[in-house]
Structures are given as C-alpha cells and as structure tokens.
C-alpha cells in the first residue's frame, strides 16, 4: 500500500480490504446457494417427469399390446403369414368380406 501510495499516489477507501473480503465471500456463497437450489429444482422436475413418464408407460403398455394384436389379426398380409396361404386378390377380397360380415354380426348384436 505504502509502496503504491508513495510512488503512484493511488490508495483505497478506509477498511476497503476488510469489506471487499466479506463481499467476495458473500458473492461466492450466494452463487453456491443458487447453484444448489438450481440442482434441487432440476432434481425435483426430473423426478416429476420420471413419475409422469412411468405412469404413461404403465397405462399404455397393455393398450399398445392390445392394439398390436388387433392389428395382426385384422391384417390380410399377417393372416396369410399365419395361415400359410398365398396372397391373391381373391384372398384379400374374401378376407375383407368376412371382416365386414363379422362386424355386421357384431354391431347387429
């Protein structure tokens, strides 16, 4: 300080370094606290998102399986694979006519 003041005439306000020390440490603590809070917030939101996704999967998984099964059985192509028959125009027409009839019976009931 004397060195600088004597030759360069530059000085600091009274108790500057004491106050500055507190200010620096205060700023660091504040930043630390903020980053911890941010971490807590992100942890909270991540947990919420995980629960939400888990719920969606839980309720949709059996439904998806059901959809897949229904699709399989209603597809003439899959049907030919299962039955081993050749895909012809006649087969497809017959497959859909049968479906329509079955639906009519179903809705009729």
């Amino acid at each position: 300080m004397n060195h600088h003041y004597k030759k360069l005439g530059i000085r600091v306000p009274k108790d500057y370094f004491k106050k500055s020390r507190e200010e620096i440490i205060g700023k660091i603590n504040l930043k630390e606290k903020k980053s911890t809070e941010n971490y807590n917030y992100s942890y909270y939101y991540l947990s919420m998102a995980a629960v939400f996704i888990g719920t969606l999967i839980f309720y949709n998984f059996p439904l998806n399986n059901k959809n897949l099964t229904e699709f399989d059985s209603n597809s003439p192509i899959i049907s030919t694979v299962i039955s081993g028959e050749e895909i012809t125009d006649e087969y497809i027409i017959e497959f859909y006519s049968e479906s329509v009839v079955l639906n009519e019976i179903y809705f009729g009931n």
Binding site: K7, L8, G9, I10, V12, P13, R21, I24, I28
Partner: protein, 181 residues
C-alpha cells in the same frame, strides 16, 4: 501456509470454503494492486477483483497444477483486467502494444488518486509506454513478481519480458533523476 496445503483444502469439497477464505486473505491485496495498475480506477479494480475471485472459485477444481497456484491466480486476474479494458473500449479490442490514450483521464477521474510530484512523474512516464510494457514494468517493480512468473502470466517470452523491464527501468531512473536535479 504452503501452496500445497492450501490446494488440498481447496480441492476437498468439505474444506473448499475454508480454503477459499484463506485464499482471499492471502492474495486479495496483491491481486487488487496488480489489477488497479492495469485498469487504473478503484471502482473498476474492485469489480475486476470480485470477478477474478468468482472465476478462481469456479475454476479451482480444474486447476491442473502445471504452474504455481499464485501464478495461476495472477494470470486469471491479468486476463480479467484485459477483458475489462476490452469491454471498456467498446469499439474495438484493446491493442496491448499501443498506449492507453485515456490513461490520464482515468487516473485523474479517480477519487482515490492523490497527486504528488513523484507520482505525477511516474505516471507521466508510465502513460508514454504501451499497455504491455507498462504491465511488465509494474509486475516486476511494484508487484515484485519474478520474470518467469511475468512471462507465464502475460504469455510473453521471458527474454522479451527482461529486455522490456530493463529498458523501462533505465528510462524511469533517468527521467526521475533529471527531474529531481
């Protein structure tokens, strides 16, 4: 306290706060004066000092110990000061090899500058140097850093640092002696 012990405290999450407080106590004044001589006004030096410590705190975990801790700290302070000068100049990046045209304006505008015959002479000579020459001279003459440290902090070849310093020192001695005759 030895640097190794301080570094141990700083690298351990449980003692990082304690280590950081010690770091502030040890280097605050030294860093402040180095910054002050680059940015000139007290208020600017205060801002840069705080930014420097925040950067040190954030970066300490990545400090690879390739240099002394004190050199690393001075380097951050130096870079922050140059960053401040660039921000202050707004229009263009500060040219370190040219003079600071606003040297006297910044100095006299500062409340914490008391002019006397010797300080005015010193500043008159320093204002005629390029920013780089001035920083090298100040780091050696006032901050009492070693040439090797100055070379690492400023990223200038050690021989260049030495030659700049001796040249400036000679000039200052000559001019101060002449003015006191």
């Amino acid at each position: 306290m030895k640097e190794g012990a301080l570094l141990k405290l700083l690298k351990n999450p449980d003692s990082k706060d304690k280590g950081f407080k010690l770091l502030v106590d040890l280097y605050q004044e030294k860093i402040y004066w180095m910054i002050r001589k680059i940015v000139l006004s007290h208020d600017s030096a205060n801002d840069v000092l705080q930014d420097t410590y925040i950067r040190i705190f954030k970066g300490i975990d990545n400090f690879k110990e390739k240099s002394k801790l004190s050199t690393w700290i001075y380097r951050i302070a130096y870079n922050e000061s140059i960053r401040f000068l660039n921000k202050e100049s707004k229009m263009k990046k500060v040219e370190l090899d040219s003079k600071d045209d606003n040297y006297s304006r910044k100095l006299f505008a500062d409340t914490f500058f008391d002019a006397n015959n010797l300080s005015l002479k010193f500043h008159q000579i320093l204002s005629e140097l390029s920013i780089r020459q001035r920083n090298i001279f100040n780091m050696k003459y006032f901050d009492e850093l070693k040439f090797e440290e100055i070379a690492k902090i400023t990223e200038i070849n050690i021989n260049t640092v030495k030659s700049v310093y001796y040249k400036v020192e000679k000039k200052i001695k000559k001019e101060i002696n002449e003015s006191s005759l």
